[in-house]
């Protein structure tokens, strides 16, 4: 599945200032792993060592927080957008 990962401004120092990155992945965990292969070090900003998403980070699939879906195991479809937002972002938007 080709999915687009939206990179927040504070993490673009890892991605050469790219605001979005395309990867092939079938789950959120896989997408983040692929992102880390491309830009080493970025995943540990987003996830704990055990793979869970860090508390102050929200990861969204098509605007929906994966905490309300299946966490990092949330499946991805072709064309999905995976968003990463720091800080106190609550809820969801579209």
């Amino acid at each position: 599945m080709a999915v687009t990962i939206l990179i927040p401004a504070p993490l673009r120092r890892f991605t050469g200032e790219r605001a979005s990155v395309e990867v092939e992945a079938s789950t959120v965990a896989e997408a983040l792993a692929k992102l880390d292969q491309l830009y080493p070090g970025i995943r540990e900003r987003i996830c704990e060592p055990d793979g869970r998403i860090r508390r102050f980070v929200s990861v969204f699939v098509n605007g929906k927080d994966v905490r309300s879906l299946q966490g990092v195991e949330t499946p991805l479809q072709d064309g999905d957008e995976v968003g990463i937002i720091p800080a106190m972002a609550g809820g969801q938007w579209s």
């Binding site: 401004a9 860090r54 508390r55 102050f56 106190m88 609550g90 938007w93």
Partner: protein, 313 residues
């Protein structure tokens, strides 16, 4: 605003801005092994009517704008804000009858959005992936495109922001500590609290140590604070004023927020907790001292966020 015939008794909402309590922490210093000669005092800014320290700056900005004829002429107040300044503007706009338009990242918490809308503010959402700096850039653009519609308050550049603290917070701390304050700790966002309070304290006693608090990484969860090396730097910021800089990890601050709730009965937000992390570091190095930390808001607006849900993965 002029006096109202309906208000011959009672007081005005805005009279309750400032003069916040200075609480002494009783149990936490012992838990952290702080020397008995050190007092750890916290300025409880959630006692402002809008619920945060930002009432001070917003009120002064609005007062100065009315005085200069920039508001009260049908224009709307416009600014970028991650939340608390917006709440203060929105409250004042409702109370004084001027329109308020706020540019906020689309990702702001539900509580904040609900509060802002309850006060009748107009919200313009900026790209959540661009954060607070994205909101600032959009507000600047709107101000440039529609000068006849908006008074651009620009809390990051407006000297009324730090002057509110120079004339308010700083004086209060000197009075409340009877001039004995030795260290002042405040988080850096717009930097108005530190610039204004810090200048006033240094004038009274040049040996007062000013401790600035920033997130330890550009990617953080300390709402209201800025990682200044990588952010748009506020025009009012003068780094030479600050004696010591403390960098705080988000998780460390969240943990202390929870600890403060159960050991002191104080429910605070993430930037308050970050200030206290820094204050404890300062306290540990001292035998004697009077440390004052600014706690910008309470934890109530963050109840739906991970701050209070440590086990939610």
């Amino acid at each position: 605003m002029g006096p109202s015939m309906h208000c011959r008794l009672g007081e005005l909402l805005t009279q309750r801005i400032g003069n916040t309590p200075l609480f002494c922490l009783r149990r936490l210093p012992g838990i952290y092994g702080i020397a008995e000669g050190v007092q750890l005092l916290v300025k409880a800014e959630w006692y402002n009517p809008g619920g945060s320290v930002k009432d001070r700056a917003a009120f002064r900005i609005v007062q100065e704008a009315f005085r200069a004829g920039l508001l009260g002429n049908g224009k709307r107040l416009l600014d970028a804000t991650s939340g608390n300044t917006g709440i203060a503007y929105a409250m004042l706009g409702a109370a004084w009858g001027f329109g308020v338009t706020l540019v906020v990242p689309a990702s702001i918490g539900e509580e904040r959005r609900a509060i802002l809308q309850a006060y009748g503010a107009e919200l313009i959402f900026s790209d959540p992936y661009e954060g607070t700096d994205g909101a600032i850039r959009l507000a600047r653009q709107l101000a440039a495109d529609y000068p006849e519609r908006y008074f651009y308050a620009d809390q990051y550049s407006n000297p009324a922001n730090w002057l509110a603290h120079y004339d308010g917070t700083g004086v209060e701390i000197l009075e409340q500590t009877r001039g004995q304050v030795t260290h002042f700790v405040a988080g850096l966002g717009t930097t108005g609290t530190m610039m204004g309070t810090g200048r006033r304290l240094k004038e009274a006693n040049p040996s007062v140590v000013l401790v600035g608090v920033q997130p330890d990484d550009p990617f953080h969860g300390l709402e209201g604070l800025k990682h200044l090396p990588t952010a748009l730097v506020p025009a009012i910021y003068d780094p030479s004023l600050i004696d010591r800089m403390e960098l705080v990890d988000t998780e460390e601050a969240y943990q202390l927020a929870r600890e403060l709730a159960w050991t002191e009965g104080l429910l605070v937000g993430p930037s308050a907790a970050a200030a206290l992390v820094a204050a404890l570091r300062v306290a540990r190095d001292l035998e004697y001292g009077v440390i004052v930390a600014i706690l910008p808001d309470s934890g109530l607006k963050y109840l739906s966020t991970p701050l209070w849900h440590p086990d939610r993965s």
